[in-house]
Structures are given as structure tokens and as C-alpha cells.
């Protein structure tokens, strides 16, 4: 299962990658902005996207808007991983098509909970 992490923070991408490895999700590609995320999707098919909301250039909402309208990408589940725990932002992201939401800071357990809703094998483990 290939996972795309879209987050402008290098350290957060490293931390997420490390946590994904602990969940046996080791096939990971990274992007530092929404624009880079779209580029990555064009080059490599992925099964799951972890998406930050606040990023320069194209933010998480821009990424969601672009990918949810594209038939080839609209089925890819997107899980928001953001520090912004503002309910309005969470609801907006879910309405725009994100499947789940995890609020930073979190550890593997929190990530597993956020991913459990969209990755079946993590629900039972």
C-alpha cells in the first residue's frame, strides 16, 4: 500500500513516516506542499494520502478541492493530519471529501485511530 504524505514540515514528514513504518506501512512518498502533492499523484499511483492543512503555495483545502474533482484521484482516501483542531476547519475538510482527521501532536496510537477508519487491516490490529 503506497502512502503519500503531504506536509510542509520536514520533521513532521519524518515523524509520520516513522509512525507509518510501525504500522507496517513502509511504502511512502513525500510532498512539501499541495502543489507538490498533485505532482506526486501524477507520477505515482497511491492508495492513501496523509494531508496537512496549513501549507504555503497550495494548502490542504486546495489539494482536497483539486483531487476530489478529478475522477482518477477522487477515490483515494485522504486523512487530515493537522495541528489545527478548530472544529470549523475539521468539518470543512470532511465536507470537502477528507475521510478522517487526526490532530497533532499524536503518537502511533493516534495515527492508527485516524487511519483505522480508512485502512481496514488497521481496524482489527
Amino acid at each position: 500500500m503506497k502512502v503519500l504524505i503531504v506536509d510542509d514540515s520536514a520533521i513532521m514528514r519524518m515523524m509520520l513516516k516513522s509512525m507509518l513504518a510501525q504500522l507496517d506501512l513502509i511504502d511512502v512518498i513525500e510532498a512539501g506542499s499541495g502543489t507538490e502533492g498533485i505532482e506526486a499523484l501524477r507520477k505515482t499511483p497511491v492508495s492513501l494520502v496523509l494531508l496537512d492543512l496549513h501549507m504555503p503555495q497550495m494548502d490542504g483545502f486546495g489539494f482536497l478541492e483539486a483531487t476530489r474533482q478529478d475522477p482518477s484521484w477522487m477515490q483515494i482516501p485522504v486523512v487530515i493530519v493537522s495541528s489545527d483542531s478548530d472544529k470549523e476547519q475539521v468539518e470543512r475538510a470532511l465536507q470537502m471529501g477528507a475521510r478522517s482527521y487526526g490532530s497533532k501532536p499524536f503518537h502511533v496510537r493516534g495515527l492508527r485511530e485516524a487511519l483505522g477508519k480508512v485502512v481496514p487491516f488497521l481496524q482489527s490490529s
Partner: protein, 279 residues
């Protein structure tokens, strides 16, 4: 209730006895060691550092005290007997806010402290309604990121617009006006925070990664506070963080905006959160 003035001096000195007698009722004179492990815990008006005579070694000692207390931003007033132009210059260069003559009227020393103190207490309503969500977010985030239990040291409102740090992460916020949230670290604290974040990933600390660690930490703190304050009169929108690096840099704010400061102590060292926005 009398306000606190910290005193660094030998307690047996006649001048100190005189100071205590004179301060009675107005100020609580609290002794401080010269070598501080951390900034003092009680909010105060300032620090009096008394020397019978100024020696060349006093300058180094003085600059260390200034360094220890930079996140608290208290004025350090040096007092000595008949200071020469050279000793006055040395102490001012080491960070003294003023140098007073111990043989002059004691009232002048208190006046110097009062004139140079730019700290005020934070009123309860602002503390609970606005600052505490940021403080709580900071405690949670540092605990998670650095695996330690930070504690709040001092909370104050400042009327001056600067604080010293070696690394500062800034997040612009917009509410009724534009404002800034700043997380400031002395170099040792930012290095240790980064080390603790990077070690589990098997990654060595570099200056670039220190900045990334600080930016993300500030981003999470402000994001958490944003969620807690949503729907309140203090709700705000936030930008992506930027980091300023440089020994003892100063962060200045838009004049006129009040600035709330919470300084923290923890196993990673001291650090401070500044919240500069209209409220």
C-alpha cells in the same frame, strides 16, 4: 500586597540592611543567588545587584545573570559605592539597566527599578480566556514532542516590545487585528528539544532540522490553541510558521499591541511563549 524586588548581595552588608529597612511595606526584598539555575519564579519589578566594590570579574558574573534572566526580561540595576566611569561602563556593557551609587538616596534605586520595569501582571480574565489555552497547548505539545513535563515559571504582560532568544518560531495570527505568537528558545533548549524529537527517528541534529522542529512545535501549539479558542471572542486565524535564528536576537512587535509572556522551565531547558495581539 508588596511587590517583589530580587536582591543579589551579601546579606550581612550594612547597605543591604539599610535597603531592607527602607523597602519595608512597599517592596518585598527577596535574595537571589548569583548563579541561577533558572529565572526566578515570582513575578517581580526587577533585580538589584549590589557590589561593595566593582572588580573586573563582576562584569562576567553580571552578564551571566542577564543571560539567565533574559526570558523574564527583568531590569537588573547594579548598585555600588561611588562608581567610576569605567566601572559604570563595564556594568552597562554587561547588561545592567542602570548603575546607581550606593551612597546616594535609596529612593533613587527604587526609582530606577520602577522606571525600567516594563512588566505588569496579567489580569485574570485575559489569563483564563486567552493566555491559558496557549499555555495548556504548550505544556501538552512540549510533553509530547520532548517527552518531558514542562512547568510554567512566570506569566506577565510587558509594555516593552522585545525579548531575547537564539531561536524564535513566529506564527502570525489574525483576529480583530494582526498579531504574532512567538516561541523563543535559548540555543541549549532548542538543541535539546530537537535532539529529543530527532533521536527516535535516528536522525542527527542539524541547524536546518532545529528550525524545522521549532516551526512544527510552534505550529502545533498555535493550532491547538486555535481549536480551543474557536467560537470565543479570542478566535483567530493562523499563518504558517517562520523561524528566526541568531544569538540573542530581538523580536520586536507592532507598537501599541499588548504582549503576554509565559516563561517555562523543563528538562529541555527554559523557553518562553509570547502572545502579541489585540484583546
Amino acid at each position: 500586597m508588596s511587590e517583589t524586588i530580587y536582591l543579589v548581595a551579601s546579606d550581612s552588608s550594612p547597605w543591604v540592611q539599610q535597603l531592607r529597612a527602607h523597602a519595608h511595606a512597599k517592596y518585598d526584598i527577596v535574595p537571589l543567588p548569583t548563579a541561577l539555575d533558572a529565572p526566578p519564579e515570582r513575578p517581580a519589578r526587577g533585580v538589584i545587584v549590589y557590589y561593595e566594590q566593582v572588580h573586573s570579574s563582576n562584569s562576567l558574573q553580571f552578564s551571566r545573570m542577564r543571560e539567565d534572566m533574559r526570558l523574564v526580561d527583568l531590569p537588573l540595576v547594579a548598585v555600588t559605592h561611588q562608581p567610576t566611569a569605567a566601572s559604570r561602563a563595564r556594568l552597562l556593557a554587561s547588561g545592567a539597566a542602570a548603575v546607581c551609587d550606593a551612597d546616594a538616596e535609596l529612593e533613587l534605586v527604587f526609582k530606577e527599578i520602577e522606571n525600567r520595569c516594563n512588566l505588569e501582571p496579567v489580569v485574570d480574565e485575559i489569563r483564563k480566556g486567552l493566555l491559558d489555552p496557549f499555555v495548556y497547548a504548550t505544556l501538552i505539545t512540549i510533553r509530547e514532542m520532548a517527552q518531558c513535563e514542562p512547568a510554567v515559571q512566570v506569566v506577565y504582560r510587558k509594555t516593552g516590545y522585545r525579548i531575547f532568544g537564539d531561536h524564535s518560531a513566529l506564527v502570525s495570527v489574525s483576529a480583530s487585528t494582526e498579531g504574532t505568537v512567538v516561541l523563543s528558545f535559548p540555543r541549549a533548549s532548542s538543541q535539546e528539544l530537537s535532539r529529543r524529537m530527532l533521536e527516535p527517528l535516528g536522525v542527527a541534529v542539524t541547524e536546518e532540522l532545529v528550525q524545522s522542529c521549532l516551526a512544527e512545535t510552534a505550529n502545533i501549539i498555535v493550532g491547538q490553541a486555535k481549536g480551543a479558542l474557536a467560537g470565543t471572542p479570542y478566535a483567530f486565524a493562523m499563518s504558517v510558521p517562520t523561524v528566526i535564528a541568531g544569538t540573542n536576537h530581538e523580536v520586536r512587535y507592532k507598537p501599541g499591541l499588548p504582549c503576554l509572556v509565559a516563561s517555562f522551565t523543563s528538562a529541555i531547558g527554559d523557553f518562553a511563549l509570547q502572545l502579541c495581539m489585540a484583546f
